[in-house]
């Protein structure tokens, strides 16, 4: 080992003049002025969360007729008003709601819905149902907001990149474990692997690849540093859903406006004996979101952050024969943040007037929520350029 270290040092010395990228400069020095100081965190609940057992219409008899076995009894519901209450796992979430920071958007969906997780998720990612669009809605938003191609504009915490952040001009930073957002490579090769080889101007494609490489190298180091330096007293619960990693980046001063993360691996696909599992997962989601907001408040960033929570579709209104629920349609979305005007938005779908398949009829095109974020949070008034259509925004923010 000693020999290795010695030769490495000597070796690096021979590379005098080579520029090692990966400075420790504060993030704000990257772009000139940040395009926006606002931040949007989108949380995907993969697998199709059961909306009817998340926000329970406990005053509606039809709900209990549809779900005689798995309906949450009214006395267990965490009531928020005389019609609705949250799943018993969502204590922290109810507190957020009661403090006026949670907007519930009812009946979100789209026409001719797909019942495939994969396909429907792609529709939500792109914001173009039945379209085959190649860029994500957040990717297109980034391209519209930021002409400077800020290398930190989009961050996606996951094992692989979500279609939602796929952009034409922007290179999303995608990582899962900050300690492993790193290239594999042996000790003695690190110097060469982390070196910018200055192969500039040979072709557009090579320049692009070098930028991607620089971004990876650059970001991986900074993200690891942010993570290493991040200490918080806040408890995010059992599954922080990457929100603690996002907090570490915000805390380190990253000027990233768009973050994407989620509850992964189709976890909400609750076909069988869902009651306890679902409650537990909702508790994790609720604890993580509440913890995140608390943490942001601690570092005085809470008013700059809005969270959107969605799932690719809801579940069938009636329970199935295995104490679970099958794939459905319309669902709630949640818009959460210190600057959000809490309450109900949109129209709840009728539980008695289901479609031919026994599904809720959607009442709110989900892209209205996207349009709201684009127009009223990021102040970009041409959401139709991004969403390829006119979707009336809500005003969630005071």
């Amino acid at each position: 080992m000693i020999h290795d270290q010695f030769s490495r040092r000597r070796f690096i010395k021979t590379l005098a003049g080579a520029s090692f990228v990966g400075s420790f400069a504060p993030m704000r020095s990257f772009g000139a002025t940040p395009v926006t100081t606002k931040k949007l965190v989108v949380i995907e609940l993969s697998g199709a969360n059961d909306g009817l057992n998340t926000l329970i219409p406990y005053a509606n008899d039809t709900y209990y007729k549809l779900r005689p076995k798995i309906g949450v009894p009214a006395n267990k519901v965490l009531k928020i008003d005389e019609f609705y209450g949250f799943n018993p796992g969502m204590t922290a979430f109810r507190e957020l709601y009661n403090s006026g920071q949670v907007a519930i958007v009812h009946g979100c969906g789209y026409a001719q819905p797909s019942f495939s997780h994969f396909t429907s998720m792609a529709y939500w990612h792109t914001g173009v149902p039945n379209g085959g669009e190649r860029y994500g809605w957040l990717g297109r938003l980034a391209d519209a907001l930021d002409r400077q191609k800020n290398p930190h504009f989009l961050v996606n915490i996951d094992e692989r990149q979500s279609l939602a952040v796929n952009a034409h001009d922007h290179m999303p930073i995608v990582f899962d474990d900050p300690n492993r957002f790193a290239r594999k490579g042996l000790f003695q090769s690190r110097g060469l692997l982390d070196m910018d080889h200055q192969m500039v101007g040979q072709s557009m494609q090579l320049d692009f690849l070098n930028q991607a490489e620089a971004s990876a190298r650059n970001a991986s180091l900074k993200i690891k540093n942010a993570w290493d330096q991040y200490k918080t007293p806040v408890d995010y619960g059992i599954n922080p859903m990457g929100l603690n990693k996002i907090a570490s980046m915000i805390s380190a001063g990253f000027d990233t406006p768009i973050y994407y993360t989620g509850y992964r691996h189709n976890a909400f696909d609750t076909h069988v004996q869902q009651v306890e599992l679902h409650q537990r997962q909702l508790m994790y989601v609720s604890d993580a979101i509440a913890g995140f907001l608390k943490d942001l408040k601690r570092i005085d960033q809470d008013r700059d952050v809005t969270i959107i929570v969605f799932s690719e579709f809801g579940r069938r209104a009636a329970e199935n024969t295995s104490l679970g629920t099958d794939h459905g349609t319309a669902n709630h979305m949640y818009v959460i943040g210190a600057g959000v005007k809490g309450g109900h938005y949109g129209q709840a779908p009728s539980l008695s007037d289901l479609d031919g398949e026994g599904n809720l009829r959607y009442t709110t095109d989900f892209r209205r929520v996207y349009a709201s974020a684009i127009e009223n949070w990021f102040d970009y008034k041409n959401s139709k350029d991004i969403l390829y259509g006119d979707f009336e925004p809500f005003q969630f923010w005071s």
Partner: protein
């Protein structure tokens, strides 16, 4: 030594071209005229093999470079002359006739069984608990088994790409797969995916009209674009829309009305098992008006109407061009290519021959400017390592999937967006890490097609059943609270999908043949010995010449040579012959980690 000199020649040739590169526009750009014999060399041959195939080994490049350019192009394009003894796909034999009318969903399966007493050839239990359990088991079994078998088809195809003597055949098959992109997730029958793959291969460089008609009648496509619900009186526009938008004309060249009318012409097109059938009772034989023409058109006539449109020739020709040559297509080039394709009567081979022989194809704008797709990246890496078998570690399907291109599972009907979209910072690292894992195979590799990942509940279910828990308790998600729970009440229910999922998994790995899990048999020592490298610089030149299409600065190469020297403890390769393998692998990893390695 001669080998080495050859590489030096390539190297300096490369640097020489590079010198011109950054300065003046290349007069060859957009010139579709043929190159001269004097323009033909190793680099040109290597470029042709990169694009018309999956890269070349030094031997293959040398062989091609020794020909005249027209001969070399013809060697690749008129490949049917070359004997190609590759084994057919070796089926596991999982198909059963009962899957012929595979239910659209699990509820559909169990509902049908409730009504008729059977589904998929499985009877409902006459009594006892969970009378529909065999149905649920069978349903999930086929989904799992067909998925695994399709992944084996992916392996088989990947092996063909690696082993074939007709690289263009596989390259075109891949093109058509991305063009007529169907996904096993929806088709849910590996046989139909395999059949479609063989269709693409059979018609790879034939006539586009023939291919288009065959594709329109192909069972996988019929399933994928909802032919089942395209019937007289209730036409479904899915196929009619995609054939115009994605397969032939491109968006904006037709009206919604054209689509609605075309959909009627395709009504009644369906299949029985693996064969196309036209159901005349469901076919709408009435008058249709498409592109301003009126008639009792059927599907084939609609295809001919589409092919008569100039946009179609331009759309398909440009897409081929972007796949093989480069991404930017000027409007003039677009119409030139369209004309070329029309003049060839939609024959692919002569069109490709012109492209591959053109000055434009060898211009600096084209050479080494193509971002390799994940499949190209992985296969060409293996090929240049001179492997003869696709390694089982790491998993070919997984590694291409995580890079964004899993064969037989394209993301949607639009296929894979090529070019820049293959690359993100994270994906670059994943590509780098694939190289690392090829050089230094993970010793903790787990085959995820056989061993369920954590988020599947199958392992805990199996474990709890073995401990004697009842099905209700065993399938209750998550083990934590189970420790204290006594196994008492097994619920009365029609079926349990948690149980079915476990049973399906177990039967699938019983019945589907395993993929052999062996790491890449990399032998860089042999490569270096064969090339008679004397110094570490020789080795770096050898690797750069054999693997990269983009020139690397001499300074960088010297730095890498220093690393190798430090690893070996000598600059004299003859001294290091007995122990150099890992150091060579480390060196090659550093070279292939260069961003430039993404280009071909």
């Amino acid at each position: 030594m001669r080998q080495f000199q050859r590489f030096l020649t390539i190297f300096f040739l490369v640097v020489g071209i590079h010198g011109v590169y950054a300065q003046s526009p290349d007069p060859w750009k957009n010139d579709l005229g043929p190159i001269a014999a004097s323009d033909w060399n190793n680099r040109a041959a290597a470029h042709l093999l990169e694009r018309a195939g999956f890269g070349g080994t030094p031997t293959e490049i040398k062989k091609l470079a020794a020909m005249k350019p027209a001969q070399a192009v013809d060697y690749l394009v008129s490949y049917k002359k070359i004997p190609n003894q590759l084994p057919p796909f070796e089926e596991s034999g999982i198909w059963e006739p009962g899957f012929d009318h595979f239910p659209s969903s699990r509820p559909a399966a169990t509902e049908m069984a409730k009504k008729t007493g059977e589904s998929m050839g499985v009877q409902v239990k006459p009594g006892g608990n969970r009378t529909l359990q065999p149905i649920a088991d069978k349903y999930l079994y086929w989904l799992r088994a067909s998925l695994l078998e399709t992944q084996r088809v992916g392996y088989w195809w990947g092996n063909r790409m690696l082993q074939t003597k007709r690289p263009l055949e596989e390259k075109m098959t891949l093109f058509w797969h991305g063009h007529f992109a169907n996904n096993e997730d929806k088709v849910r029958d590996y046989r139909k995916m395999l059949q479609q793959n063989e269709l693409f291969r059979k018609e790879a460089t034939g006539n586009f009209r023939t291919l288009l008609i065959e594709v329109a009648k192909n069972p996988a496509m019929l399933v994928y674009l909802d032919a089942a619900v395209n019937v007289k009186g209730a036409p479904n526009e899915n196929f009619a829309r995609e054939i115009m938008e994605l397969f032939t004309m491109g968006a904006g060249n037709y009206t919604e009305r054209d689509i609605q009318e075309a959909a009627r012409a395709f009504t009644g097109w369906y299949f029985k098992d693996l064969t196309f059938v036209q159901n005349n009772d469901l076919h709408d034989a009435g008058l249709k008006s498409i592109f301003g023409k009126t008639g009792n058109f059927d599907g084939v006539q609609v295809i001919d109407l589409i092919l008569s449109r100039q946009e179609t020739s331009e759309f398909v020709a440009s897409k081929l061009y972007r796949y093989f040559v480069r991404e930017d297509v000027s409007p003039q080039m677009r119409s030139q290519l369209g004309k070329l394709f029309r003049d060839a009567h939609y024959e692919i081979a002569p069109f490709l021959r012109t492209i591959f022989l053109s000055k434009n194809f060898y211009s600096k704008d084209s050479i080494a400017t193509h971002v390799k797709s994940p499949v190209e990246f992985v296969i060409s890496t293996y090929k240049k390592l001179e492997l003869t078998e696709l390694p089982g570690i790491v998993d070919f399907n997984d590694v291409t999937d995580v890079m964004g291109q899993k064969l037989l599972f394209p993301p949607n009907v639009a296929g894979w967006p090529e070019g820049k979209s293959w690359i993100t910072p994270g994906l670059l690292m994943i590509r780098n890490n694939f190289i690392y894992d090829t050089m230094f195979a993970p010793i903790n590799f787990v085959p995820r097609d056989r061993v369920p990942e954590q988020f599947y509940q199958n392992v805990p279910v199996a474990e709890k059943l073995s401990r004697g828990l009842d099905v209700t308790s065993a399938t209750k998600p998550d083990g934590k609270e189970m420790v204290s729970m006594s196994s008492t009440a097994d619920r009365e229910e029609e079926f349990n999908t948690g149980l079915a999922s476990y049973v399906a998994w177990r039967r699938a790995i019983e019945n589907v043949k395993p993929i052999v899990r062996a790491p890449a048999k990399v032998n860089l020592t042999a490569m270096v010995k064969k090339a008679k490298c004397q110094t570490t610089v020789d080795v770096v030149h050898l690797f750069v010449g054999q693997f990269l299409s983009v020139p690397i600065s001499e300074q960088t190469q010297l730095q890498i040579a220093k690393l190798l020297e430090s690893d070996l403890g000598t600059n004299d390769m003859s001294q290091a012959q007995s122990y150099m393998e890992d150091a060579l692998r480390n060196t090659l990893h550093v070279i292939l980690a260069l961003p430039a390695y993404q280009l071909g």
